[in-house]
């Protein structure tokens, strides 16, 4: 005995689903995906010199890598040599977004190493060459990255401007013609070696590590013609011990230190006759420098 309508009935009542095309977002690009793929390769594979040569020789690679647009990142892969070039030009906002997105690699053993910082520096430099300026990097929620904003080079008539925002830690190496401002909570681990013609506006942050202006290696040059501005009394005390350590042949300091008062005016810190005797710096200071706190 036949029950129900059978397969014919089922087919007759079946209304097929409307077929939707694969959704595609109009006008958008996937530039970040490619950039992250390259970054991942950088993290996984050392450039040729890493781990073999010393700091100066590393700098021989790092400086042109950041400053020359088509300078390649050469690696020894199991499949042979490979060179990565970073010709991407991102807007300042995109660079910050890319930097934020890098934290998905924060568990990678090489994340803290120089490669992350160098890549961000390179993107900033590319962007600056393309006419962008005023870069902001949000450090909140990002693990410390070494060499962030290092080897950057600006122009005297239009210095490269970078704002580091939020609560984070960073250091900086060998920059020229740059204005750097830090937000209140940024921890500056203070390596400003080999920098020239820069203003480091440290705001009211407390410098945990000392600012270094003297090079580690005698081959490198000292920081030169840089101004350090702070409105924090502790930072000021810390800076004054170090900023004037770099001297020219006539034993005159090569850099400048300012204390910013609450009304915004800058008080230059001059060592006068005392600078030759660092032990007396405090005595000199107590007349000129009155903490705002």
């Amino acid at each position: 005995m036949k029950k129900g309508t059978g397969i014919n009935g089922l087919v007759r009542e079946y209304v097929p689903e409307r077929v939707e095309e694969n959704p595609v977002v109009e006008g958008a690009s996937d530039k970040f995906s490619e950039l992250y793929r390259k970054y991942e390769k950088m993290l996984n594979f050392f450039p040729e010199f890493f781990g073999i040569k010393m700091m100066d020789e590393e700098a021989e690679f790092e400086q042109p890598f950041v400053q020359q647009i088509d300078y390649p990142y050469s690696m020894d892969l199991p499949s042979g040599k490979e060179q990565l070039t970073f010709l991407e030009v991102l807007t300042p906002l995109e660079i910050n977004a890319f930097f934020q997105g890098m934290f998905r690699y924060e568990e990678h053993e090489n994340y803290y190493g120089k490669r992350s910082g160098l890549l961000v520096s390179k993107l900033i430099q590319n962007s600056y060459y393309a006419g962008y300026n005023n870069f902001s990097l949000q450090l909140d929620g990002v693990k410390p990255v070494s060499c962030l904003s290092s080897y950057l080079i600006g122009r005297e008539d239009d210095p490269l401007r970078i704002n580091l925002l939020g609560d984070g830690t960073f250091n900086i190496l060998s920059v020229e013609d740059m204005l750097l401002s830090l937000s209140e909570r940024t921890t500056f681990s203070g390596l400003t070696y080999h920098s020239k013609n820069c203003i480091f506006h440290l705001g009211s942050l407390v410098v945990e590590a000392e600012v270094h202006v003297k090079p580690i290696s005698p081959v490198n040059t000292s920081t030169e013609n840089c101004a350090y501005i702070t409105s924090n009394s502790e930072t000021f005390q810390s800076l004054k011990k170090n900023v004037f350590l770099a001297r020219n042949q006539a034993d005159e300091p090569l850099n400048y230190l300012y204390f910013q008062q609450s009304d915004g005016t800058l008080i230059p810190f001059k060592l006068g006759d005392y600078y030759k005797d660092p032990l007396n710096v405090d005595n000199y200071c107590k007349d000129r420098y009155k903490p705002t706190k």
Partner: protein
């Protein structure tokens, strides 16, 4: 009284809409309310507790009458948007947790706004791009655009603004010029390729932001974080501009004296909230889903990131997760313990919840092995009259010649008795965890502690007891116990000195366990120091002392001791940099006849290769360099456990 019969429309439209979502496993029902003024939002929302959508009839009426939509379309579009929050985005509360914490660190006061708009965008975009299924959603946004266009300030609102000394026209102009909703509808209009009635002023502020939005491919999953930051920058900038134009409004809304329940706040709120305002928030999720969400997060991200996100979730929900707890066996160990001089063992009980949760997301398969165990059997002892209701299997059919006679037929009385037998069981585990200075600290997310926790969990869930030796130069020992808290406590402790595994002490502990198993299992943590070792050696007779110091102490294998060794899986978790590798390997070789050995080498692929090449009998070596190494972990399939030459061809014909 409503113009349309919404119940009838809901009954008719709901099944097809759920079918469009491929019939998700949630009730295909909609709760229709006259208005939702007392609820989470006054338009519509998806309740993640009940998995049901609630829609305000008042809002539907507005969409139809003022937004000029067909009632079926209005209902369908809203329901699709709401169910989309369940099916498309955020779908999992872990998504909200992650992007919420990201928003908080990047967009500060605008974090909630950015997150709400992001959830709506990601939900809608998927639907808007669908030519057929997205028709209703696009229509709803066309209706919303009309509502925004017709929006006028009520007399009360005008009065309030006059009191605040804000020109009502300025408010309206600012709301129009700096409207995220308008920007998003314009974006849907472009992506859906359908006129939704939004026109952005050419070269205006919103047109510029629209260009920025168009440069982002929101559907690229791997760029989701970058996309979110870029989108957040756009939204936060608009909201910032709006607040800059209406500073008084911002101050009054945020810090109004009447508080969040006050009338003034209610009036002004509509000027700062999204038009839909239905985006899910973490507090909408029940605790079990939040726990699941945190499990997803802990698996995906590292320790510090997980802790940041957990902190964010706790602040947002007001609930506490991963509560620290003391050990249940009432140990009163302080933060430090150990030798009087030299390195101290640091306890980090605060880290237990982290490792417990993370270990709980992994499984480990442990093969059983034949163990000599006590088995309880029933045997007949004496007889009694069989009465109705007694189990028939106890009946003695021979007592009355096969006939059951009430009051005369007997039944067997059963008594329980114990006997020794070999049964397939998971043995107890003795974890020997290296916490020397070369090992990662538990507070920094140690893979060795994670590995030990996974193993402890696995054995514990199989009914086995777990013993722990936490060693560096000194050693802290916990005899096998079912008290998992005590196990975790010792696993999270850290010495931080050199690495020397005291094999003689291990042998002594096993002897103790064999001699007085019940007493040993009740013991608190035992500390063994280098001094103890020397003192013990000095106390021995000269000939034994020589044997002891030269480390060729032979253990007299009694039956009990053999059984004890047999019942224990010997597990070593180390980075491989041991000061006495020969001694350890020798020990592994000597116990291999009875015990299964497992060695986990963490953080050193070279050492893993070295240990692997040793081919120790009955010993398996595992790498433990990354979390992924613990996926699909299986312990105990070792050929040498039952070597082929000793194994009978068929157990049946033995």
């Amino acid at each position: 009284m409503t113009t349309f019969n919404w119940e009838e429309i809901a009954q008719k439209e709901t099944p097809q809409i759920f079918k469009d979502f491929y019939s998700p496993l949630i009730p295909a029902e909609v709760t229709l309310e006259e208005n939702l003024e007392d609820a989470k939002c006054d338009t519509a929302f998806f309740d993640f507790h009940t998995n049901r959508t609630s829609i305000s009839k008042k809002f539907l009426e507005r969409l139809c009458l003022e937004g000029r939509l067909e009632p079926e379309i209005a209902f369908g579009g809203i329901l699709k948007h709401e169910v989309g929050h369940y099916s498309y985005y955020p779908r999992e509360c872990s998504t909200l947790m992650f992007f919420g914490h990201l928003a908080e660190s990047n967009f500060k006061e605008y974090a909630d706004g950015v997150l709400a708009y992001w959830c709506d965008l990601m939900n809608n975009l998927t639907q808007v791009l669908m030519k057929h299924k997205g028709k209703d959603v696009r229509a709803v946004y066309r209706g919303l655009a009309r509502l925004m266009e017709q929006d006028k300030l009520s007399a009360v609102e005008q009065a309030v603004f006059k009191l605040l000394k804000i020109a009502p026209e300025e408010v309206q102009r600012t709301m129009r010029d700096y409207s995220v909703d308008k920007l998003l509808i314009a974006y849907y209009q472009r992506q859906g390729n359908e006129d939704l009635g939004v026109r952005l002023e050419k070269d205006g502020y919103l047109a510029q932001k629209f260009k920025e939005m168009m440069s982002i491919n929101y559907l690229t999953k791997e760029d989701e974080i970058v996309n979110f930051i870029q989108f957040g920058n756009i939204v936060a900038d608009i909201l910032k501009q709006r607040d800059a134009k209406l500073p008084k409004l911002k101050i009054k809304v945020r810090y109004g004296g009447s508080g969040e329940d006050g009338e003034l706040w209610k009036i002004l709120r509509r000027f700062i909230k999204p038009i839909f305002e239905d985006a899910p928030e973490l507090k909408d999720f029940p605790k079990d889903k939040l726990e699941e969400g945190l499990n997803d997060i802990i698996r995906k991200w590292g320790k510090s990131r997980y802790e940041r996100i957990k902190d964010y979730v706790e602040r947002k929900t007001g609930k506490e997760f991963d509560k620290p707890r003391g050990t249940s066996r009432g140990q009163s160990h302080s933060q430090q313990a150990g030798t009087e001089e030299g390195i101290q063992l640091q306890f980090h009980d605060g880290q237990i919840p982290y490792y417990e949760r993370l270990a709980g997301t992994y499984g480990v398969s442990i093969f059983k092995k034949p163990l000599m165990v006590d088995v309880t059997d029933n045997y007949p002892e004496g007889k009694k009259e069989f009465t109705i209701g007694d189990p028939i299997r106890t009946l003695d059919p021979f007592s009355t010649g096969g006939i059951i006679l009430p009051g005369i037929t007997k039944r067997h009385q059963l008594k329980a008795g114990k006997r020794k037998d070999r049964l397939y069981k998971v043995p107890d585990a003795w974890l020997r965890l290296d916490t020397s200075g070369s090992m990662k600290h538990p507070t920094k997310g140690s893979l060795a502690v994670l590995c030990s926790s996974i193993l402890a969990n696995g054995y514990w869930h199989n009914g086995a007891s777990i013993g722990v030796d936490n060693f560096s130069v000194d050693m802290a020992t916990l005899f096998p116990t079912r008290d998992l808290n005590a196990v975790y406590s010792l696993l999270c402790a850290y010495w931080g000195g050199g690495t020397w595994l005291n094999i003689n002490k291990i042998k002594k502990h096993l002897q103790k366990l064999a001699a007085t198993p019940e007493d040993a299992r009740q013991l608190d943590i035992i500390y063994t120091t280098e001094d103890d070792y020397k003192k013990y050696a000095a106390s021995l007779p000269p000939e034994e002392q020589k044997e002891f110091m030269e480390k060729n102490l032979e253990v007299k294998m009694t039956r009990q001791l053999k059984e004890t060794y047999d019942k224990i899986d010997n597990i070593l978790i180390t980075d491989g940099w041991l000061a006495n590798p020969e001694e350890v390997i020798d020990h592994f070789n000597s116990v291999a006849q009875l015990t299964r050995n497992f060695v986990f080498i963490t953080g050193s692929p070279k050492n893993y290769e070295r240990w692997k090449k040793l081919n120790l009998p009955n010993t398996e070596v595992y790498p433990a360099d990354k979390k992924e190494d613990f996926i699909g972990l299986t312990l105990g399939i070792i050929d040498s456990l039952a070597p082929p030459d000793n194994k009978p061809v068929s157990l049946f014909y033995q």
